[in-house]
């Protein structure tokens, strides 16, 4: 299977933060949910993928190209929605299309107009008068109107109501119907990722915790609830996180199907559970 994105050993340091040895692959034809707490390094990783920053170490391949030398070609084949980074809000949709048609060789004015109609984005007023949801849809329509093979979305659905998010998720699913298309979607809205992602990559404090097919993640991680006596018998190598109260304990375990848990209350872990447990003391490998 071809990889739309392949990252090996990516490192980037800033004062007070370091992305350490980040490696993962996004296979073509799939959606990867990219999760992690605020400041985990998701945006730094995405900026490295897009060639906006220079990594200290590591190898990145995007659609077979190196962002350091092939950023322009990647720009032809990939569409990006970056958190808070777009055209000035004084522009109207028609003006954005006029500009983009001169900046992008593959820009399709008709397709952009079609998305604007579908999303009810009027040309009669500048984007600053749009609602938050409309602005998000405009950014997505702009990313899609040059028919990219890869979408890279950084918090593209943040702060949107469920109706708008649902519209956008439908569009992602339509986009991915072409098996050569792929999406890397960084989001805090884990319920969206539960619905559409094929893979989940979890970044915690600048390190990859896991990058797995969603089904494998669901099969691997579970939330175990037990008393303190049972807790003492658990294998610490498989405890990825822990919450304690006066009477019982909750553990995030990474071997949910182990027969050792038979008879205990063990539920599948949601993405939220996994993030929360790690935030409360789990450590990345």
């Amino acid at each position: 299977m071809n990889q739309a994105i392949e990252i090996k050993g990516l490192c980037k340091s800033y004062p007070g933060f370091a992305l350490q040895d980040v490696s993962f692959s996004l296979p073509e034809g799939s959606i990867m949910g990219f999760i992690g707490e605020n400041g985990a390094g998701k945006t730094t990783t995405i900026k490295s993928i897009l060639g906006l920053i220079r990594p200290d170490a590591g190898e990145i391949s995007v659609l077979g190209l190196n962002p350091a030398s092939g950023r322009r070609q990647i720009g032809e084949e990939a569409g990006a929605v970056l958190d808070g980074s777009f055209f000035s809000e004084t522009l109207r949709t028609g003006e954005i299309s006029a500009v983009m048609s001169r900046l992008h060789p593959n820009w399709d004015r008709g397709l952009f107009s079609e998305y604007c109609r579908r999303f009810s984005l009027p040309d009669s007023k500048p984007a600053k008068n749009f609602s938050r949801g409309m602005k998000a849809k405009l950014a997505l329509a702009t990313a899609l109107a040059h028919r990219p093979r890869l979408l890279i979305l950084d918090e593209a659905t943040s702060g949107l109501d469920p109706v708008v998010r649902s519209e956008m998720l439908d569009l992602f699913l339509e986009f991915i119907e072409d098996e050569t298309h792929s999406i890397l979607l960084s989001s805090h809205i884990t319920s969206d990722l539960e619905k559409i992602a094929d893979y989940i990559t979890f970044l915690h404090e600048g390190k990859i915790v896991f990058s797995l097919p969603k089904d494998e993640m669901a099969a691997r991680y579970g939330v175990l609830k037990c008393g303190k006596t049972d807790a003492a018998r658990l294998d610490p190598r498989h405890i990825a996180g822990k919450r304690e109260s006066r009477f019982d304990c909750e553990f995030l375990v990474d071997n949910r199907e182990d027969p050792a848990y038979r008879g205990m209350l063990l539920e599948p872990a949601s993405i939220d559970d996994i993030m929360t447990f790690f935030a409360k003391g789990g450590s990345a490998q």
Binding site: K47, L50, I53, S85, S88, R102
Partner: protein, 209 residues
């Protein structure tokens, strides 16, 4: 490249058009009061001399550069487009101002078109010089910090004309045709513009977004 210039124009058009229309009305009145048609293009160009700086501020607030670099554009194209926008907006306003100034002169003052055109070209070059001096500072430091520094830079041409030139014996210039002096100044400003653009590209290539 045209797309980037168009983007700056769209982002600023309301602000620029309003400012120019109000400015035009005020300048017409002032031109008549001070009896100088050359005042008109000079003041109109002054209103647009900061257009490229305003475009910087708008880009910074929209975090445009990060987005632009996800498109198939080179960093050199992004910088060059900003220089062309700065020079183009000055040129356009200067041309419109010069035409209106010549018309005003023909109707009211009758001092001759050459006086208006000479003043327009001379001040165009001074404004262009100020722009090319300030643009690399904006690329290096961002809008917030660069504003203060460029105020000092704007004093450079002033300091040269008022502080340095009077103390230099420029008698030899009197023997030179005026056209030569103007051409020499224009060539010097254009050379500086090229060097400034190269410096800005270098600075921009080193930046991360």
């Amino acid at each position: 490249m045209m797309g980037l210039i168009l983007k700056d124009y769209y982002a600023l058009k309301n602000y620029l058009l309003k400012q120019l229309l109000v400015g035009l009305a005020v300048c017409l009145v002032v031109s008549v009061i001070i009896e100088s048609a050359g005042f008109l293009p000079i003041m109109l160009m002054l209103m647009t001399v900061n257009a490229s700086i305003s475009a910087f501020a708008i880009d910074e607030s929209a975090k445009w550069d990060g987005y632009a670099l996800t498109l198939p554009l080179t960093r050199a194209q992004i910088v060059l487009a900003r220089y062309l926008f700065a020079a183009g907006s000055l040129l356009l306003t200067g041309a419109v101002g010069a035409v209106l100034g010549v018309l005003l002169d023909n109707i009211v003052f009758h001092a001759g078109a050459l006086e208006v055109l000479g003043a327009t070209v001379g001040i165009f070059l001074v404004y262009l010089l100020m722009s090319v001096l300030s643009l690399p500072v904006y690329y290096k430091m961002g809008v917030e910090k660069a504003r203060l520094i460029t105020i000092l830079l704007y004093l450079v041409p002033f300091a040269i004309f008022v502080g340095i030139l009077p103390s230099i014996d420029l008698a030899f210039l009197e023997s030179l045709p005026l056209g030569w002096i103007a051409a020499g100044f224009a060539a010097a400003v254009l050379l500086l513009a090229v060097l400034s653009c190269l410096l800005s590209v270098r600075i921009y290539r080193g930046r991360e977004f």
